[in-house]
Symmetry: C2
Subunit: 313 residues, 2 copies
């Protein structure tokens, strides 16, 4: 039944026929046990965040099913208590051939564990020097966004950013500054706001809304463009602006980051993270790693691309 070549056509035909008649299916776990292979990979993925990961998951699913593998999902609702627990489950002997770990900080206490046991793992949207990773170049993405603004002729460019202690927020901020410097533009302290909201590190709509309110309260002067560290915040910013009778893009241009579903709806110019593709690549990398455990970790960085819509004319 498994296509063994040392078997006559005649016999194969007969066996297959009987199998079909009896509605035979090999038992999943008997097979996996005998083969010493799981034909499955797991994904440890945050459920508490911005549904960023769904898109990635779509990519993962589509690639994984090409291989006929199963995906066992561990959705983390509470990172403090569940990350290590699910890593444990993922790595329970024999269960999976490899694991995908998403967005969260990989617990240092597990690096040795994975390396010693040679458990294939790839990190997605998070980084660790010892393991393969797929990330997005936040610095470059921000740089591209701001450069776009500059090329559009903007001089006074503001930024509304999520909490700087979050890695992506920090990197996007650095990209913003660098673009300004490289093009000889001034950094206006008064047009720069770091979110106070801590929920999701400030990557949420309300954080954008209130940060913008604060910007407005500071002075009657406005930048001509604002780079916002994520689309969801940008939507909050636009609303705060609208409430104050300030038109986007008429009075101020807005550029976001991520290219979430809503960005299209709002006509928001932004910088796109290729999430679906990241999922696909992650699975590909993981399979490579499964088939060849010994090579050095590889770090793939995607460069976001500009998506021009109408919030920056």
């Amino acid at each position: 039944m498994n296509g063994n070549p040392h078997v006559s056509e005649e016999t194969r035909r007969r066996v297959l026929a009987v199998a079909r008649r009896l509605n035979y299916q090999p038992h999943t776990y008997a097979q996996r046990l005998a083969k010493q292979k799981a034909y499955a990979i797991s994904a440890v993925i945050p459920f508490f965040t911005n549904y960023f990961f769904i898109e990635v998951l779509r990519g993962v699913q589509s690639k994984i099913s090409e291989f006929g593998f199963d995906l066992v999902l561990y959705g983390v609702n509470d990172p403090a208590t569940q990350v290590e627990y699910y890593i444990q489950k993922s790595t329970h002997r024999g269960k999976v051939d490899g694991v995908l770990f998403f967005s969260m900080k990989f617990p240092e206490s597990y690096t040795r564990y994975f390396i010693q046991r040679e458990i294939p793992i790839v990190l997605v949207d998070t980084f660790h020097p010892k393991f393969d990773s797929i990330t997005v170049d936040n610095f470059k993405g921000a740089y591209i966004a701001v450069k776009h603004l500059i090329e559009l002729g903007h001089e006074k460019i503001g930024m509304i950013v999520a909490r700087l202690e979050s890695v992506p927020a920090r990197q996007r901020f650095e990209g913003f500054k660098q673009a300004l410097i490289d093009h000889g533009k001034k950094f206006y302290e008064e047009f720069f706001i770091e979110t106070k909201d801590t929920r999701l590190d400030g990557f949420n709509r309300e954080a954008g809304y209130y940060a913008c309110k604060e910007l407005l309260s500071r002075s009657r002067k406005l930048p001509t463009a604002i780079f916002v560290s994520s689309d969801i915040q940008a939507i909050g910013v636009i609303e705060a602006l609208n409430e104050n009778g300030i038109k986007v893009p008429g009075d101020v241009s807005i550029i976001g980051f991520d290219d979430i579903e809503l960005a299209k709806d709002f006509g928001l110019t932004t910088v796109r993270q290729p999430m679906y593709e990241m999922g696909v690549i992650a699975v590909e990398k993981l399979f490579e790693r499964i088939n060849n455990k010994k090579t050095k970790p590889e770090h793939i960085k995607f460069t976001p691309e500009l998506v021009i819509r109408n919030s920056c004319p």
Copy 2:
């Protein structure tokens, strides 16, 4: 190691100690094979839709891990080709103890298959008489929403609805009409719009936006309140209104359906589907079914509850 009571404390202690020292873990599939139990359930779930299901999935995950089971996920990107394929995979002999099937139309060609093999299954957000199901009462939800509007004193109530061939849209529409009838209010044909957009059956922001544009183009008269068949459409409606200088809730009140994340952000009054809870209940039901295959299918209908925010003062 498995807590057999016919074993002395002393021995157990010793065995456990050695096991720990050797870093012993039982092999997942050897256990499952010997026990003739999968300790896993699968979920066949649409990936192409409104990320409605994520919230449900959170509930599923949290309940499932209480039982220590694994979740094997089959995300459907293309329903036409993948639904049956994943049902097959789900039911591969021995693989899972039960399956959760979400939102999509359950293929009639598989009802016999499940019944004969006695494969435990529960449907979530979709219905079939032969299987357990967890759904939301769209009719009642709509009724509650409209009743709320009426109690607020509205007389001219409009509705913007997704495509009526979609079951939930139809049910919400029926609830709307019934509420009007029961309270002796007139149904204004001119304030009723069915979306033309077919994407996601019209359950998307743009559909709401354009439907509202059409409403506005019909006449200069406006209803004092509009019931929109989903929050995401309602957000499109609000925007179309705002663009035309019509204030929400100043000029017209809006009520939605679903209570998605953004509804809170927009201060949208709506009717909440308890998605997380539905996930939890679905898993509980599935386990009941796993332990007791012979009882009649049970159909649980959740009644949505009103969430009052400020789009309907």
